[in-house]
Symmetry: C2
Subunit: 117 residues, 2 copies
Amino acid sequence: MNKSPLLQEVTELHAGICNGLADPTRILMLYALVDEPRNVNDLTETLNLPQPTTSRHLKILRQQGLVIGEREGLYIYYRLADKRIIEALDLLRTILNDRLTYRASLVENQNSNQKQE
Amino acid sequence: MNKSPLLQEVTELHAGICNGLADPTRILMLYALVDEPRNVNDLTETLNLPQPTTSRHLKILRQQGLVIGEREGLYIYYRLADKRIIEALDLLRTILNDRLTYRASLVENQNSNQKQE
DNA sequence: GAACTATATGTAAATATCCGAATACACTTA
DNA sequence: TAAGTGTATTCGGATATTTACATATAGTTC
């Protein structure tokens, strides 16, 4: 395995991005930004959070390069830094759904087996 | 925003998967499993970790449904639970690379501007 | 069953994360 | 410059994560 310092560093950034995604609130935030940029208060109300909590999560997303905030007059509008972030999230969600569906089908079979017995 | 309990729960699982990916060691582990299953000692040597550390990370990956371990005789062989996990990781890595490249190009420009001035 | 090998877990210390509440800061408008 | 609105930070405590070291468990082979 290549243990060069470069790989090490890039892998840490890679993990950092994943860490940015590793919170339900932040995932909901990113999906909330799919269609259009939103300001903090908007997100705060949409996600039903205390405003400081919204800001803190946005800071993490910013630090990991997942969102970009730009001030327009009184507001700071946040938007996705890269649309492909949603692709990645969708892919992981698909993997999850397939797993849940598979488990559900196991329960199905289990039930019908029980009925047979 | 739909705040149904179901969405809440699925989003937590979604975040859980991301959390499984949110560690450099675990990312290297997953990439180490791309081509073929490996046992714990194999991974331990490849990643140059203490064996208990390897086991612990594998446990997390297992819990998040990212890898599957199956015993064959004396060894437990771990493999990716779903190849698409690598697709997702690759996509995130691409996003990261593009960002790094972009930043590097900024530095480039900055340098050449300095030379011009 | 004893010895052996592979893998997992307990524990403790260091470190990080999350949240709520209060407060500070930034920008705009009057 | 003062008031007002939007956004960020600080602090505290509770909780979780990571790691190393030691040890336990599980399965195999003799």
